[in-house]
C-alpha cells in the first residue's frame, strides 16, 4: 500500500466521524442560549432557563475540577432506560442518609450546563451524583464541615478530606463566624479555630448552587404543571 492510498483511506474513514460527531454538533451546542419561560405557553415560572451562574460559582467549578472531585462525582440525571436516576435524588441514595423532602428530579438537559467551561458530567460514581448536590445539606456550614471531614457525617464515606482548603489558627478576639468544628471529635483544641480559605468558600458556593429544580420550559419539551391535584402520592415517573 502506498503512502498516498493509505493516507487517502485514513482521511476518508476518519473525517466522516470527526465531522459528524464532533464538528457539526459544535454549532448547535455553542449556540444554546438561555430560554425565556413563556406564560402563554403554560409555563408557571418567570424569567429565564437556566438560572445564571455567578462568578464565584464559576471559580468554584474550577476548584471542583482541579481537586479531582469530578473523578468520583457525576452531575447527570439519566433517563429511566439507562439507570434508576429518575428517582435517585428523591430517595437520596437510599435510606441510610438523612430523610430529605422528596424531590422530583428531571432528566438533565443540555441547557443545564450552560455557562460552564467544561460540563461537569463526571467520570464515575464512587460518590453520589451531585446534579442536585445543593440540596444535600441545609447550610453553608454543613457543606464546609463535609469538605473538611467527610467521615464526620458518614463513617463509611471514602471521600478524601479537603483539609488543605482550611487553615487552623489561633482565635484572636471574636471567633470567626465561618469556623468549622468548634467542638466534637474534629475540634482543633483550646483557643484554636479552623477557618475556610477563599477556595473552600468558592467551592461551597458552587456546590450550593447545584440545584436543577428549575422546571424545563414547555418550549424545550418540559411538562405542563399538573393542575392543582396533590402530586405527593403520584408514582415516581421520570420527568421526560
Amino acid at each position: 500500500m502506498s503512502l498516498k492510498s493509505l493516507l487517502l483511506g485514513l482521511l476518508a474513514t476518519f473525517a466522516a466521524p470527526w465531522l459528524l460527531l464532533i464538528v457539526r454538533p459544535y454549532g448547535s451546542l455553542a449556540s444554546l442560549a438561555p430560554v425565556a419561560y413563556n406564560e402563554e405557553a403554560g409555563d408557571e415560572t418567570k424569567g429565564f432557563f437556566p438560572p445564571t451562574r455567578s462568578a464565584d460559582q464559576a471559580r468554584g467549578q474550577q476548584i471542583y475540577f482541579a481537586q479531582g472531585c469530578a473523578q468520583c462525582h457525576t452531575q447527570v440525571i439519566r433517563p429511566q432506560y439507562v439507570g434508576g436516576d429518575g428517582d435517585e435524588f428523591k430517595r437520596n441514595w437510599g435510606e441510610a442518609q438523612e430523610a430529605l423532602a422528596p424531590k422530583r428530579t428531571r432528566q438533565t438537559s443540555p441547557y443545564d450546563y450552560l455557562g460552564e467551561s467544561f460540563a461537569a458530567i463526571g467520570q464515575r460514581r464512587n460518590g453520589p451524583d451531585l446534579a442536585n448536590g445543593g440540596f444535600r445539606f441545609a447550610t453553608r456550614q454543613q457543606f464546609l464541615e463535609h469538605l473538611y471531614a467527610p467521615q464526620a457525617r458518614h463513617e463509611w464515606s471514602s471521600c478524601p478530606p479537603q483539609r488543605h482548603l482550611f487553615k487552623t489558627r489561633v482565635i484572636q478576639g471574636q471567633p470567626s463566624r465561618m469556623a468549622v468544628f468548634s467542638q466534637g471529635k474534629y475540634a482543633p483544641g483550646e483557643g484554636l479555630e479552623i477557618v475556610p480559605s477563599t477556595e473552600a468558600l468558592d467551592l461551597v458556593d458552587y456546590l450550593l448552587a447545584l440545584r436543577r429544580n428549575a422546571p424545563l420550559p414547555i418550549s424545550l419539551g418540559g411538562e405542563k404543571p399538573a393542575p392543582a391535584a396533590p402530586a405527593a402520592s403520584a408514582p415516581a415517573a421520570p420527568a421526560k
Binding site: M1, L3, L6, L7, G9, L10, T13, F14, P17, W18, L21, I22, P25, Y26, L29, A30, L32, F65, A66, Q67, G68, A70, Q71, C72, T74, V76, R78, P79, V82, G83, G84, D85, D87, W93, G94, E95, A96, Q97, T108, S109, P110, Y113, G115, S117, F118, A119, A120, I121, Q123, R124, R125, P128, H154, W156, S157, S158, C159, P160, R163, H164
Partner: protein, 497 residues
Amino acid sequence: MSQDSSPASLERPTPEDLRERAALDRSTKLPVLFFLTSGLVWLLAACLLGLVASIKLHSPGFLDWDWLNWLNWGRLQPAAFNALVYGWAFQAAFAVGLWMMARLCRQPLRNPVTLVVAGHFWNLGVTIGLLNILAGNQGPGELLEFGRPAWLMMFAAFALIVIWQVLMFVTRPKGADYVTQWYVLAASFWFPWLFLTASVFTSPRTGSGLHAALTSSWYANGVLFLFLVPMAVGTAYYLIPKIVGRPVHSYPLAVAGFWSLALFGGWTGLQKLIGGPLPTWMPAVSSAAQVLLLIPVLCVGANHFLTARGRHELVAVSPTLRFVFAGAVFYVASHVVAALLALAPGLTQFTAAWDGFRFMLVYSYFSMTMFGAIYFILPRLTGCEWLSPGMIRIHFWANIYGGSPIGVFLIIGGFFQANAMNVWSHGFGALSDMLSGAYVAATLGWIFILFANTVFFLHFVLIALRLGRRSERATLLSGPAHLDDADVMITTEGAEA
C-alpha cells in the same frame, strides 16, 4: 531480497541481511533504549501510584495526613492512569514503533539525537503534567488532566518523534511493505488529529462546556482504540511470524482487519455519555461502532491464530511469543468487555467496570504485547541475551496473576455497583461495603504487578548495560528438548546482532 525485510520471510537470512539488520539496529539503538528506559521508570511510578490509589478505595484512611493532601484519590487516580498511558505506554509505542519501522522500511535512523532530545521534552511534559495533577491543579476531562502547558510540550515532542517513521516509510526501497507499517503510520496519523481536535474543542473559550465534555470523551476512547490498539496489533503482526517462522496467514484478512478498525474506530467514544444531555443518536452510534470493533478483532485474531497454527507449543519456549500470546487473549477480552459496556450502559455506566476495562486494555493487552517486543528487541540492540529464564517467568506469571484480577474484579464489581445503584433500598454506605472485596483484590493485583515490573526493570537494566549472557542462542523458557525446526529460527534471530 526485497522480501527479506518482511518478517513473513521463511528463508534463512544471508550474512548480508544480518549485517544490514545490525546496521539498522545500531542506528535506532540510542532512542529506542532511551524511550524504553524512561517508559519503564514511568511504569514503576504508575504501579506505585496505582497501588496507593487502589488501597485508598477500600481503606480511605491510608496515608491521610495533612501534608499528604496531594495523595487524595481524586488526584492519585488520574496521576496513576496518565503516568501509565503517557509515561509508559506512549514511550513503549515510540520505541517499538521506531525499531520496527527501521527494520521494515530498511532505512537507518538518520537523526537519533533529535529523537532523544524530543524524548526529553516528552518526559518533561509528562513530569510537569503529573506534578500539576498532584498539586491539585488538574484539567477537566479524562486523559486531559495534565493541563495545557504540559500538552503543548508533549505534542511538539510527539510530532518530532513520529515524523521520522513517516520519512522512513517514504524513502523505503520498493517492495519493503508490511502490515505492521500501516498500523504504525495510522496510529501516528490518528493521534495528532484526535489531540488537536481535543485541544481546540476543550478550550475554555469555545463557549460550550457540553461540547468540551463530549470531545474529551471521544478523545479518551480514541487514545485507547486508535493509538494504543493499532500499535500493539502492528507489533503482534511483526513478532508472531518472526517467532513461528511462517508468513502471515492471509493478506486479505490483514487488509480487512486494518480497514475495519479505520472505518469504525473514529465513531466510538460517546457511548460513555449514554443517557446524558446529548441527542440520543450520538451515543447510540458510538455504542454500535464499539460493538462493530469486534470485526477487526475477529480478523486480526483469526489471522494470528492461523499464522501460528501447529506452532502453538512455542508459547512455552519463546518469552516473546508467550507475552504476545497473553496479550492476544486480553486483546479479545478487552474488546468484548468494551462492547458489553457499550451495550449495557445501565449496568456499567459510571462504575468501576470502566476502570477495569481501561486497565485490561492498557495493561493486560497493550503492555503485555510491548513486554514481548522488548524481550525480542533488546538482545538485538545490545548484543547480549537475557540472563535468566527464571526472571522472565516471574515477570510473566506475576503479571498474569496480578494484572488479570485487577481488570476482571473491577469489571465484575462494576456490574454489582451499577445494580446496587439502581435498587431503591441500597444506601451509599452499603454500596461502599459491597465493592470493597473487588477493591482489595485489585490492591493485591497491583502488588503483584509492582513486583513483576521491578524484577523486569532490573533484568532490563542489566541487559541494557550489556551485562547479559554472551551467547549465540537466545534465552528460552524451556530446554532444548522441546526444540524443533522452528526454534532454529529463534536462535539464529537471537544471534544475528
